[in-house]
């Protein structure tokens, strides 16, 4: 029988440095998982909006009056923007080998993160202000 290994393993994610590319990669995963969860609500919203003109108008009304629904929809859009942008960055890197050294990779990651942040701010202004 295999003996249980009681030796400690050091792994404190908050104390270990990761380059911006690594942080983006983790956020890419997190946004992907969040999108998967929110997708159920998005499909419900799509179904509702397509069922009749009246329901479509009701949904718009709900989006304006129900803050929680508005927040969920906002997070859904932010998630899509982030996940798509970082996904495209990964595809470009995989197919064309762009950003395979630390310097250019970090630079490209910063650009995509800043774009995502700007789009998120614009969406926030559009939705809530």
């Amino acid at each position: 029988m295999k003996e249980k290994d009681n030796r400690p393993v050091y792994l404190n994610l908050l104390a270990i440095d990761l380059p911006i590319i690594g942080i983006s990669s983790i956020l890419h995963r997190v946004s992907g998982f969040a999108l998967f969860l929110i997708f159920i609500i998005a499909v419900w919203m799509l179904d509702r909006s397509l069922s009749s003109e009246e329901e479509f108008l009701n949904l718009l009304e709900d989006l304006n009056s129900l803050v929680l629904l508005k927040v969920i929809f906002y997070l859904f859009l932010v998630g899509i923007v982030y996940h798509s942008l970082i996904g495209v960055k990964k595809i470009i890197s995989d197919f064309f080998g762009i950003g395979e050294d630390l310097r250019s990779g970090s630079f490209i990651s910063w650009i995509y993160n800043v774009i995502s942040l700007l789009v998120s701010i614009l969406l926030f202004i559009k939705f809530f202000i």
Binding site: R7, P8, V9, Y10, L11, D17, I21, D101, L102, G105
Partner: protein, 246 residues
């Protein structure tokens, strides 16, 4: 004639070290050790550890050459993996505190010493040696300068483990994902014009985990004390794998 021995100006810094003694401790803990270091002279992190060991004689860490060649003293220094012997204290220290922990993701044997078995098991899988099928020539197997140049940035790896233990994909699947160090070695032999086992090497890597778990996080590149680029090597293998399927 009067001769004066110059006295060094010293400052005190705190070395916060990860401690674990399997004979005594149930859990690992951090211990703060105050050491005196010269003000006008830079030390390496290894020197600071040696100073700390003078006070805490039970403090354990691996070291050998002391000049970044043997790869024994890989550890996590203020959050970043590196070799203690070639990491200047001035670069590593934040404020007056230096936090030193073992390399992440591997079982701790004692203090800063980790069990590297998992790391070397993965290295073994890539067969890090030349495989030839032809009969051995009377003299050496020749290589043109251009062919030899392709091995630059690959053969220099000293197997310190800093890259693999800084890789999140290796943390989650240390038994299935080979890790940046082993994959760099794999590419080192695939790229070698004298090696005759490219197809077999690629076959061994062609599954969901061995290579494809690399998500291009590039922490391996960020921490490599020899300035190597395992991400690029992994990408080269990936391209070879994809192209042979066409």
């Amino acid at each position: 004639m009067n001769s004066t021995i110059p006295t060094e100006e010293l400052r005190s810094i705190t070395l916060s070290v990860y401690r674990f003694d399997p004979g005594k401790d149930k859990k690992a803990y951090m211990q703060d050790i105050e050491i005196e270091v010269p003000v006008n002279k830079d030390l390496m992190v290894l020197d600071a550890l040696v100073l700390a060991k003078k006070q805490e004689t039970s403090l354990s860490f691996r070291r050998s050459c002391g000049e970044g060649v043997c790869g024994s003293d890989g550890m996590n220094i203020n959050g970043k993996n590196g070799l203690a012997c070639v990491t200047p204290l001035s670069e590593a220290i934040k404020g007056e505190k230096l936090v030193v922990k073992p390399m992440p993701g591997l079982p701790v044997v004692r203090d800063l010493i980790v069990d590297m078995k998992q790391f070397f098991d993965q290295l073994e899988k890539v067969k890090p040696y030349l495989i030839t099928k032809d009969e051995a020539p009377e003299q050496e197997r020749k290589q043109s300068p251009e062919e030899r140049e392709k091995l630059d940035g690959l053969y220099e790896c000293i197997l310190c483990g800093c890259c693999s233990t800084a890789c999140p994909s290796f943390w989650w699947n240390p038994d299935k994902f080979l890790g940046p160090a082993a994959l760099l070695q794999s590419w080192r032999f695939i790229a070698d014009s004298r090696d005759q086992a490219t197809e077999e090497r690629l076959d061994d890597l062609d599954d969901a985990f061995s290579l494809y778990r690399c998500h291009g996080i590039m922490n391996c590149v960020s921490v490599c004390p020899k300035g190597l680029n395992p991400t690029e090597a992994i990408s080269n293998i990936r391209k070879k794998l994809i192209n042979r399927k066409k």
